[in-house]
């Protein structure tokens, strides 16, 4: 007798499978992080390497680069699995489709959001942030990248069947990401100034929780439509 795997078990399996697949090709998930570091490096070169001035533009540079890097990465979230029919199997598996896609998004966040957040303090140092600001910057990016991955999942689902959907994906997702950018950049700014950044961090966490509850449902609806 074959026992139906529980929802938690199914999600864990998807998570394990996606991570295993990704570790076979480390280039794919390291590229967005490299992109993020390069973009943040361009700002001092394009503007002014003086530290006090760099410090002022560091929050903006970090968050715009993080936003672009996560858009770059999210394009491939559903592409492979949409092509080879894996997503259709998920849709027919009897488990909640939104829940399984949330597992996929979680794997994606572990592969891109988390490295991005870990790389951010490094980039922040390059932009003149004091060492005391680094834990705050790490926290802000950890929270913010969750929202970015979730919003990106909706966009990736909507553009799944579209050829050359990359530019369209950014047109769809970037306006939705404005609140994350505003709160994240503010948190980073407060961290660099050495002030308490609890307020914007709470707002980022609220966005993350809100996204966790609703975004998988929207992403599931979008992927279902794209699969037909």
């Amino acid at each position: 007798m074959i026992r139906e795997p529980s929802a938690l078990h199914a999600a864990a399996q998807i998570l394990r499978r996606d991570l295993k697949l990704a570790f076979r090709r480390p280039g794919e998930w390291l590229q967005p992080v490299a992109f993020f570091l390069i973009v943040t490096m361009l700002f001092p070169l394009a503007l002014d390497p003086e530290l006090s001035r760099l410090r002022q533009l560091a929050p903006g540079a970090l968050w715009v680069a993080a936003l672009l890097a996560s858009i770059l990465a999210i394009e491939f979230l559903f592409r492979e699995d949409g092509r080879d029919g894996t997503l259709e199997q998920y849709a027919l598996s009897g488990h909640s489709f939104a829940w399984l896609l949330l597992a996929k998004t979680a794997a994606h966040w572990l592969l891109t959001g988390l490295p991005l957040a870990i790389a951010a303090p490094l980039a922040a140092l390059g932009l003149g942030a004091p060492a005391a600001a680094l834990p705050g910057i790490l926290a802000a990016l950890l929270l913010g990248s969750v929202s970015l991955s979730l919003l990106g999942a909706i966009g990736a689902g909507l553009t799944l069947g579209i050829r050359r959907g990359g530019a369209l994906l950014s047109l769809l997702v970037l306006p939705l990401a404005i609140p994350t950018l505003v709160f994240g950049a503010r948190a980073t700014q407060l961290a660099i100034q050495g002030d308490s950044l609890a307020g914007p961090l709470y707002l980022l966490a609220a966005l993350g929780v809100f996204g966790l509850t609703l975004a998988p449902l929207a992403a599931a609806a979008a992927v279902r439509i794209s699969l037909e």
Partner: protein, 250 residues
């Protein structure tokens, strides 16, 4: 309560003939109200004691701002109805809202800039209302971009409907974040709009303008929706009758 009216409204032939009858009844009053409102606002109303004659831009800017928000809400509402009840007519309405709403949003932005230059001394200030309108324009453009990227009409309808609903959930959050952001970076030189009570000679043309723009939006949207319904229901036998009736009248 009977749902008969709902089903009748959802039937493409009924909707088609409804738009045919309704559009002129909305369009002509809209034209008269807009012309009347502009005449009252540009000619009859006295100049504002602070902004002089520059305040007259309000007669096109404020109604455009209202219509841009209304059209987005209506688009998202129609899209949700279409998604939930799989109603073609609702999807047609949502599709018809987007281009009209986007163009009016662009009008709101440009007139806002033209108002900003004499009042604030700059065409673009990072005023939360201007930023919010700009984001709204991007929502519209994304919606239209997604729709045009998908060839199959039914798939385009449902995918763009999901986007519209996600967008409308985000609108209050974007609004809050932009206002919050602005409260941190408030430049002291930017002048705030006076919220003083308007005399009737200023207010009445403004209300006419608001009503005119609203009716205008519904009139144009219904004309577009008629075309969208036709595109979605080519096979129906009613299409033959409608086209034949039109041929006779022409």
């Amino acid at each position: 309560m009977s749902w008969a009216w709902f089903h009748r409204f959802a039937s493409p032939p009924y909707f088609y003939s409804l738009t045919l009858r309704l559009a002129p009844w909305l369009g002509w009053p809209a034209g008269l109200l807009i012309v009347g409102g502009l005449y009252g606002g540009l000619v009859l109303a006295p100049p504002d004691y602070q902004q002089s004659d520059a305040f007259r831009i309000v007669y096109v800017h404020a109604p455009a701002a209202w219509v841009s928000l209304m059209s987005y809400s209506l688009m998202a509402f129609a899209a949700a109805v279409g998604l939930i009840w799989r109603m073609k007519v609702a999807h047609a309405v949502a599709a018809a809202c987007a281009p009209v709403g986007a163009s009016i949003t662009a009008v709101c932005l440009v007139t806002g800039m033209l108002w900003g230059q004499p009042m604030w001394g700059t065409y673009w200030a990072w005023d939360p209302r201007l930023v919010f309108e700009l984001v709204l324009l991007f929502f519209f453009l994304g919606y239209m971009g997604l729709r045009s990227a998908i060839d199959d009409v039914s798939r385009a309808d449902r995918a763009s409907a999901v986007l519209a609903v996600v967008g409308v959930v985000n609108v209050p959050i974007v609004h809050f974040s932009v206002t919050w952001w602005n409260s941190l970076h408030q430049a002291p030189s930017v002048m705030r709009m006076q919220e003083a009570a308007m005399p009737a000679s200023m207010l009445v043309p403004l209300l006419m303008s608001f009503l005119g723009f609203t009716l205008y939006f519904y009139a144009v949207m219904l004309v577009r929706a008629r075309a969208e319904v036709l595109r979605r229901d080519r096979g129906g036998s009613w299409v033959r009758d409608v086209l034949a009736a039109r041929g006779k009248a022409a």
